[in-house]
């Protein structure tokens, strides 16, 4: 067994609606899989099936070698799950709530105490341990949910929008926590915050309309962008349109555009290649003075839009 999570041909239909429509992927220990997709793409539904909350219409999920349908208790024991919105028992305090979770997770005595304290410390909820959960801020509620999910140090961690609704500092803390745990766990986080792709993930799966549209590294995802390795160039000696004309004729350039701000031009390379060195040489050969020249990363939002809307254009 190499993969901690194996998903085979998984589907969930609600009547006519195919919320999840035959998806396959797997997650290994040490991977943080960013599960991306627009709202309603089937991210939460998939996570609910992995954690055994929803029964799939077809296909199978195995977690740490346990089929979730056949061995639900063993599979659930190896999963830490933060459901969407981090539901908890509102009238309990984090202290009693986490103790309840520890009880159910099989801890007792000193081990139970240690597990609760450790989870509360890592999720940074120690200072609110004895306030009713319903009185806590959204950020604290989310972190109580997180503490609950990591309490038993599970080999598999599944988090549905763990940073949704948090302020930038809280997001940073949650991401730090996830990165700390990443090495010895298989983690799936769903998000539609694209900056988290780089901040957190070692791999991305993009789903749209219940189907996997992309499965690869964040770098590969970025490389799909038109802007990947595009160069923004500003030259003092010559006006932009003339520059664009000259650069456009170079053999390694696919296309150029004059920036609407008037601050130089953007050069799109052929086949997404690195062209900064070649380009600067050619400019210098002309005796022009380069004011600035830098390569762009891919634009995730553009890639995201391209991947998740490509079917809508063709459909009806």
């Amino acid at each position: 067994m190499t993969s901690a999570i194996e998903i085979n041909d998984l589907a969930k239909h609600f009547g006519e609606i195919k919320a999840v429509d035959g998806i396959n992927f797997s997650v290994k220990k040490g991977e943080v899989l960013g599960f991306l997709g627009p709202n309603g793409a089937g991210k939460s539904t998939t996570m609910k099936m992995i954690t055994g909350f929803l029964t799939p219409t077809q296909g199978s999920v195995s977690v740490c070698g346990y089929n979730v349908l056949e061995k639900p208790i063993a599979a659930k024991a190896s999963i830490g799950y933060l459901p969407e919105g981090a539901p908890a028992y509102a009238d309990m305090t984090p202290d009693s709530f986490l103790k309840f979770i520890a009880d159910i997770r099989g801890f007792s005595g000193k081990a139970k105490k240690d597990a609760v304290i450790s989870a509360a410390e890592r999720a940074r909820v120690m200072e609110v341990m004895f306030q009713p959960i319903e009185t806590l801020s959204k950020g604290y509620k989310r972190r109580v949910g997180l503490a609950q999910a990591i309490l038993h140090n599970p080999p598999v961690l599944i988090m549905d929008e763990p940073t949704d609704g948090l302020d930038p500092n809280q997001k940073y803390e949650v991401r730090t926590l996830i990165n700390e745990m990443a090495q010895d766990k298989a983690i799936i986080i769903s998000t539609h915050i694209l900056e988290e792709v780089h901040a957190l993930c070692t791999r991305n799966v993009v789903i749209s309309r219940g189907k996997v549209e992309f499965d690869g590294t964040p770098f590969e995802l970025e490389a799909m962008s038109r802007y990947h390795n595009a160069v923004v160039l500003t030259v003092n000696s010559i006006d932009n349109s003339a520059l664009a004309k000259f650069v456009g004729n170079l053999d390694f350039v696919a296309e150029t555009e004059v920036l609407s701000s008037g601050q130089g031009i953007r050069v799109f390379p052929k086949d997404g290649k690195h062209i900064t060195i070649n380009l600067s040489e050619k400019i210098r050969e002309q005796g022009w003075e380069i004011a600035s020249l830098y390569a762009e990363n891919g634009r995730l939002d553009e890639v995201f839009r391209a991947i998740t809307t490509k079917n809508t254009a063709g459909a009806k």
Binding site: K48, T51, G52, F53, L54, P72, I73, A74, K76, A77, I79, Y81, P83, G85, P87, A88, Y89, A90, D91, M92, S96, F100, I101, D103, I104, R105, G106, P132, Q148
Partner: protein, 246 residues
């Protein structure tokens, strides 16, 4: 079936009653109504007998009204707050959750029932009652409460709305009580065959509780309540299993 899990779920649920004023309000109302019905409706003093029959005979009616208030939150609240997703993704079985919650509600009802002990002291002070009969009465009342709770728990699992759970549980409970009531049976006995009348009557809480409350322990009455609780809780588990995510 893991007893530890049942115990932890029961403990959490039981404490949950006391996290809000609901528990205290319920217990006070229960004691007031039990006392009122015993003395005024049941004519505790005028009967001149040292027993708690007037107290116990009112319980079916009290329970119809009050038990749905205890059972309505069991599952409806889990659904409404979304915590059912948390509960059902913990390494426990649906049956453990259903039984744990039911036992918590039952223990809570038992506590409310036991808090009527001043009445027991009173009757012992005033006369020489048969405490065996009184004990049987408590036991029977508790069993019957379990029946009402199982109905209420099952119905609570069908909705997110506690008010709906309350109202439907009340109506279903009422049907189970009234099935043995004279007026209902008279209505059927005028035209229906006697076997049907007996069948309807045998489904009634009243029929089975009346004997127990008088101190008569009949295995059939015990079995009736045990079977009733089992069937409703089984249905409860099926509903939770099939519709937990709805």
């Amino acid at each position: 079936m893991n007893m530890r899990n049942i115990w932890f779920i029961m403990k959490r649920e039981f404490n949950g009653y006391f996290a809000t004023p609901v528990a205290y309000v319920f217990i006070i109302i229960f004691l007031l109504l039990a006392g009122f019905s015993t003395f005024y409706v049941g004519n505790f003093f005028a009967r001149g007998e040292a027993d708690l029959y007037p107290f116990f005979s009112m319980h079916p009616w009290l329970y119809v009204l009050l038990i749905p208030a205890i059972s309505m939150r069991l599952w409806a609240e889990e659904r409404k707050s979304g915590s059912i997703e948390l509960l059902m993704t913990l390494p426990i079985s649906v049956f453990e959750a259903v039984i744990g919650k039911f036992l918590a509600a039952w223990a809570f009802t038992g506590l409310a029932l036991i808090l009527n002990f001043p009445l027991w002291i009173t009757v012992n002070y005033l006369g020489n009652p048969d405490n065996g009969v009184i004990f049987t009465g408590f036991l029977g009342s508790l069993l019957m409460a379990g029946g009402f709770l199982a109905i209420g728990s099952c119905i609570s699992a069908t909705t997110k709305n506690q008010v709906i759970a309350f109202v439907i549980s009340l109506v279903v409970s009422l049907v189970f009580v009234l099935a043995g009531f004279g007026i209902v049976l008279d209505f059927f006995s005028s035209w229906a065959p006697q076997t049907l009348v007996n069948a309807i009557s045998s489904f009634s809480f009243l029929t089975h509780f009346d004997a127990i409350s008088k101190g008569v322990i009949d295995m059939r009455d015990m079995l009736y309540f045990a079977a009733l609780i089992t069937i409703w809780l089984f249905a409860n588990a099926l509903i939770v299993y099939a519709r937990k995510a709805d």
